[in-house]
Amino acid sequence: MPVGNLNSQFFRGVATVTEKNMRIYYTKPPVIIYGLLLPLIMFIAFYLGRDIDFRFFFPGFLAMFLFFIASSVGPLITPWEKRAGTYERLLSFPVSVNTIILGDTAAGMIFAIVINLVVLAAGLIFLHYSLNVLLLTGGVLLGAFCFASLGVLLASPAAPNPSYIMMASSLIRFPLIFISGILIPLEKLQGTVRVLSYFSPISYLVDILNFSFGGHAQYPLIFDFAMLFAFSVVFIFLSNRFHKRNLMKGL
């Protein structure tokens, strides 16, 4: 098989893994609960009964929805497949670990973008923004990829039950919401929380979306995009390392 064909085999593998994940995992209860219901509940808990400029906070909420949805698919897939006994069979196909990682990431990314389009449409209809569409598109695409790759990284530890991974992933994901400029604007974060915000990938998407919707950003946009890209690379690299190390555990 020539190298050119190996490349097409790789992309074909990624596409097929993505299709498999979309068919099987989008309707699994943990994805619905941790990906859709939880951010909705958080949004309602924050907004209801409070006098909040929703137009100001909408970009942050959009980032929150994108984060939760994109990062909720990945943690479920590998642990579920290992428990169901389908993972070894998947590995026997002409795929590599990287194929599986990228396929899982793509599934989370697509799910998040589709749902977020609904949230975005609702926001545009009721709140009348004038958007920077190009920046918004770039930010959402890169943000979705980054958060989905985090989800896949969270799936890499060996665990006897997918629910262990979902709960552990929530312990990591939830605190990020509070340090990322979603509930408290980035410019108002102070002290330790301000420092911690630099370590959250969501902060950079919030900044991009704030600029896309309202024309104001805390950091240079090139910095925001670079950080999202850097986080993505780190998450994919670590996913590769840890998934390979734990490949046979749980089989």
Binding site: M1, Q9, A84, T86, R89, S92, P94, S96, M248
Partner: protein
């Protein structure tokens, strides 16, 4: 580089360690194109570890394995394109239908949609699944799930099929259907590499068998040749109309090993003629009736037990 001989699987010095345990120790074997090769061994012998290395799931610590000329370590994707695999613990996707499972697998191998639909239809008929093609696999019996598994594994017409305990836990009908499918696939030219605990299955289906024990190859040959090696595993099976004391049989000094199996005695000997005459005389002297007697050549099970050290001792 493709293989220049007609060996489609070549293994040379393959080794795999898990910490201080050497699960597979310097095994070497080859399988000819179109052969049905059985790989036998007791639990924990290294069969599944070996298959996992040959199918690219595990990286060997040393040694080489070539699948149709492709080094499984250096060219895993190319090697995997040549094979279909049914792992022992490999399940199909129960949330998908039988047809969806087959088509999804075919996509991994680059088969176009139209051709996939044709092949899926043919396989569903062949594997007696057509009427349930649009039912989710969760509703299937174990035997039906295994048939979906095998159908998916062969959708791309692989040159080699690896099966790890394919009939384990299945009812008799499913076992027979799967053996029939394997036989037909082999007739069409597919090389079969099969691990099994069912010695009789290996005896019937395999042209050659390799026996692995404690990570090392104990023997590789055609089943009949393996049986001939162990002349002393000839035996006389006999039963009497009433129980007898084993000491009466031991007195013959012709039986090397004696096993009591239910109401029968199995006496291992290299002199079956002498032993039969002794037993006939014994029956007459003791007033016993011989209810059954036969001379048995070594079975593959006997060979297996002898090589893997599970012999009961007199």
């Amino acid at each position: 580089m493709k293989a220049e001989n007609d060996n489609i699987i070549e293994v040379d010095g393959l080794t795999k360690r898990f910490g201080s345990l050497t699960a597979v120790d310097q095994i070497s074997l080859s399988v000819k194109e179109g052969e049905v090769f059985g790989f036998l061994g007791p639990n924990g012998a290294g069969k599944t570890t070996t298959i996992r290395m040959l199918t690219g799931l595990l990286t060997p610590d040393s040694g080489k394995a070539f699948i149709d000329g492709f080094d499984i370590k250096k060219n895993p994707i190319r090697a995997k394109m040549k094979m279909g695999v049914i792992p022992e613990t490999g399940n199909v996707y129960v949330d998908l239908t039988a047809k969806q499972n087959i088509i999804l697998t075919g996509k991994f191998y680059g088969i176009n949609r139209r051709e996939l639909e044709k092949r899926a239809g043919r396989l569903l008929e062949e594997f007696v699944l057509y009427e349930r093609k649009d039912d989710v696999v969760r509703t299937f019996s174990k035997g039906m799930k295994q048939r979906v598994n095998i159908a998916s594994a062969v959708v791309h017409n692989p040159d080699i099929l690896f099966l790890d305990e394919p009939t384990s836990g299945l009812d008799v009908q499913s076992q027979r259907l799967i053996r029939k499918i394997i036989k037909e696939m082999n007739k069409r030219g597919t090389t079969i590499f099969l691990t099994t605990h069912n010695i009789e299955e290996a005896n019937i289906q395999c042209q050659r068998a390799g026996i692995i024990n404690k990570g090392r190859i104990a023997a590789i040959d055609a089943p009949e040749n393996l049986k001939r090696i162990f002349q002393e595993t000839q035996s006389v099976e006999i039963s009497f109309n009433k129980p007898i004391d084993s000491g009466l049989i031991e007195n013959s000094q012709l039986a090397e090993r004696i096993e009591q199996i239910g109401d029968k005695w199995k006496l291992y000997t290299d002199n079956p003629d002498g032993l039969v005459k002794y037993l006939a005389k014994l029956a007459q002297e003791q007033g016993l009736i011989l209810t059954s007697m036969q001379i048995c050549r070594a079975s593959l099970e006997d060979v297996f037990v002898k090589l893997t050290g599970d012999n009961p001792i007199r």
